[in-house]
Amino acid sequence: MYATEAELIAAARAGHQGAFTEIVERHSGTVYNLALRLVNNPQEAEEVLQETFISAFRALDRFEGRSQLGTWLYRIAYNAALMRLRRRQVATESLDAPTTTDDGDMLPREFVDWSTLPDERLLGKEFRGVLEGALAALPDSLRSVFVLRDIEGLSTAETAETLGLTEVNVKVRLHRARLALREKLSGYFAPMVAGR
């Protein structure tokens, strides 16, 4: 309906309901998922979702277009989720801290190759809980990067802008997140290889 993002924003500023709806349709999924993974609570994630769009629509006149609309919205959501985490004073680092090398990379401890297990064995009834549990156990700083890059498919540059990080920092955190998740999933899937 709107050929460019600039047209979409202009229409929203002019008060066109369809433009607001389009913005919600395009971005609510990523806003919700980022919030859910950070606060780990569907009710609070929904509150962050609502707060994000209410604040964004109120502030739309102040959006300068230096970033994409999406990254601007995700940044609002990220900050809203962080505020909640701080209020809750949730411990941000995992108690089960992984072993790291001098430059901070986690040393792998699991070497069983479960990657060739057929999907019907991997995707058992506990699978989603395992995936979510491993993600929830990551420190917030790694989880936010992983969710935006690998789950929501943002580019390194978009993720960096959303989270206020350098691109190098995004890459380093993404790598640590992946290694930590691989380790956790290996703990679950590797015994299936032995029992094959």
Partner: protein, 75 residues
């Protein structure tokens, strides 16, 4: 090349962001190192599983409430 030397580059490797020469060194190492091969294959699979199954959609009732607080008609 030793296992630890390539560990920090594995994400760039599975994302196809490394120069050809460095990729070749990693592949030479993996040809003789089953552990690194397993780490790379399971790392790739981990990313794939989250890409395919990690996204949680906004629940329908939450979508209804979002449109209601924004005073918008749900499409």
């Amino acid at each position: 090349m030793h296992c630890k030397d390539m560990l920090g580059s594995l994400s760039a490797y599975v994302d196809g962001e490394l120069e050809a020469q460095f990729c070749a060194e990693i592949e030479r190492h993996m040809a003789d190192c089953g552990n690194c091969r397993a780490v790379v294959d399971t790392l790739r699979k981990t990313v794939y599983l989250y890409r395919e199954h990690g996204h949680a959609d906004v629940p329908e009732e939450a979508r209804d409430r979002l449109y209601a607080v924004l005073h918008l008609d749900k499409p």
